[in-house]
């Protein structure tokens, strides 16, 4: 024989080495694989039904159409600037410095809760006022309030289902009535919201309407006591209602009549609202924005919001800001309302997208170029 056959010992050694390599590589592959899989699961890549902020932004884009550079909801808006004069009464409820007697600079945004930045103002849609209070100590309070004190749905899954059910059919341009009816049949809270929307008089101006926190929050006082609250901005300007029957005529005369009215009023004088805090009583639900608290709840006027001027978004401080309801100063905290996380996540997704798309051309005022560049007293 030309070769000597390997000894049994060397064969065994070789086998042992090979086994070590195989089990070693197997262990490595398993460890890396399990971690990668866990990461993929955490990222939601394996669970398409989990709703991310981006998923909700997708749903809004399908519902509203794509308007690059604009928010994914409440697209049509303008920036406002002013201040908040605290009367000090809020200090008993919250240690937030914004409630200490004195003045806090404020900026914000008035908007229509319509899906297009170019929609006419004469629509029976809610309106919104979003605000940023930046206190002298560096703390920030942001709130995005709606003209309707309720939300049509209590959680993000229902919100997505509602958006899908009311997304216009590309052929007819209208939502499928059967889908809308099926959603409404299953959601008494949305029917109640719609009934409220239909019966509520619509303010004739951004300036004479009230705006509400929608969700419950917690105020924490200097002693550490937490109270469930909601808040509203109630106008000093006398209320007058729009005639729903005349929307078409008003839009024909000026599609941006609400925004133009705001600019015009602010050119004349600052506009004022009172920040009114409503205290929950024991048993009031804080986890459901479709449930109102009884009107008998204690309300405390904690100060005056003074809006001095309005600016188109490209010229104002509000466009590149999210009025994230989780941006809260010490003394104000989130409640157990699941919508707060959802709003925060979706607003963040909206900011990511519109920032990446580049600044929008500016509306209202870009489609019908009618708005003044700035209203300064």
């Amino acid at each position: 024989m030309p070769f000597s056959s390997p000894s049994p010992q060397s064969l065994r050694r070789l086998w042992r080495r090979r086994r070590r390599v195989i089990t070693g590589l197997g262990t490595i592959a398993l460890s890396v694989g399990v971690l990668a899989l866990a990461f993929a699961w955490t990222a939601g890549w394996l669970t398409p039904s989990r709703l991310s902020g981006a998923d909700v932004a997708d749903v809004l884009e399908r519902h509203n159409g794509e308007h690059p550079g604009f928010r994914r909801a409440h697209e049509k808006g303008v920036c406002v600037v002013g201040y908040f004069d605290s009367n000090g009464r809020g200090q008993a409820l919250s240690k937030a410095t914004v409630f200490a007697p004195g003045r806090t600079p404020v900026f914000g945004r008035f908007a229509l809760a319509v899906g297009s930045p170019y929609a006419p103002d004469g629509v029976p849609a809610p309106r919104s006022l979003a605000l940023d209070f930046s206190a002298a100590d560096g703390s920030t309070w942001r709130t995005a309030m709606n003209s309707v004190p309720l939300f049509p749905v209590g959680n993000v899954r229902d919100f997505v289902a509602l958006q899908r059910a009311t997304t216009p059919d590309p052929v007819t341009g209208k939502p499928d009535p059967a889908r809308v009816a099926a959603f409404m049949a299953a959601h008494p809270e949305t029917r109640a919201f719609n009934a409220l929307m239909a019966s509520r008089p619509i303010a004739s101006s951004f300036a004479n309407g009230g705006y509400h926190s929608i969700n419950a929050f917690r105020f924490i006082d200097a002693g550490g006591t937490a109270r469930a609250v909601r808040w509203s901005m109630l106008p000093e300007a006398a209320f007058s209602a729009l005639d729903r029957g005349r929307f078409d005529a008003m839009n024909a005369r000026d599609r941006d009549f609400l925004f133009n009215d705001l600019f015009a009023r602010l050119r004349r004088e600052p506009q004022r609202w009172h920040l009114v805090v409503t205290l929950a009583a024991a048993g009031d639900r804080t986890d459901n924005a479709t449930v109102q608290w009884p009107a008998s709840r204690e309300r405390i006027d904690v100060g005056t919001l003074v809006i001095e001027r309005a600016l188109p978004e490209p010229a104002g401080p509000c466009r590149d800001v999210t009025f994230d309801p989780l941006v809260l100063p010490p003394g104000i905290a989130a409640s157990d309302d699941p919508l707060l996380s959802a709003r925060s996540a979706v607003y963040a997704a909206s900011l990511r997208r519109r920032s990446g798309e580049g600044p929008h051309p500016g509306a209202p005022g870009s489609a019908p170029a009618t708005l003044p560049q700035e209203s300064q007293r």
Partner: protein
């Protein structure tokens, strides 16, 4: 004959094993909070920012330690390519560990968010409030995080390769409790 393996400096080992679980947790928290609109979002976001700040402090200490105390030499029989890969991937890890918290902090600044840590403790902005800059930093933060996770998996695979296949004591130089003898 077996010889005891040289160890990383005690401070390097302490920082390494403090940072390892924090960084891995941070990667999962970051990608996890992006995936959800549930109440977990608020919780994960509230953890992400202070934890990122803690990691920033730790990585600065770690880099300082790296320059003060050279790591033990790699086994002399390690193929050149693997040696290269080890050196490169370690500097990549240091760079990513530094860039992740800095880009996160900068991107929140560029988005005009207050950078709130715990109980009203805030960091000052380190970038101007600028939407275009935010979009760029946000993209960087995201892709660097995925690169960091991939680099971490490579790092883990390499450590296990040294321990289980080569059995050359390289893992033990960071984890002496595994036994300090080369076989």
């Amino acid at each position: 004959m077996s010889t005891p393996v040289p160890l990383f400096h005690a401070r390097a080992r302490l920082l390494h094993w403090m940072m390892a679980p924090l960084v891995v947790a941070m990667l999962f928290i970051g990608i996890g909070m992006l995936s959800t609109t549930s109440s977990a979002y608020a919780l994960l976001l509230a953890i992400h920012k202070p934890l990122g700040t803690a990691i920033l402090v730790l990585v600065l200490l770690r880099i300082h330690t790296r320059f003060r105390h050279r790591p033990p030499p790699l086994p002399s029989d390690l193929p050149r390519l693997q040696r290269r890969a080890a050196t490169l991937s370690h500097w990549l890890l240091y760079a990513l560990l530094l860039l992740m918290p800095v880009s996160g902090w900068a991107m929140l600044s560029a988005a005009g968010y207050p950078v709130t840590l715990l109980a009203g403790i805030r960091l000052p902005p380190i970038a101007p409030h600028d939407a275009g800059l935010f979009a760029w930093l946000r993209g960087a933060h995201h892709w660097l995080a995925l690169l960091l996770f991939a680099t971490f998996l490579l790092h883990l695979a390499a450590a296990l390769f040294h321990a289980l296949v080569r059995r050359d004591g390289v893992l033990a130089s960071m984890a002496p409790w595994l036994g300090r003898r080369r076989r």
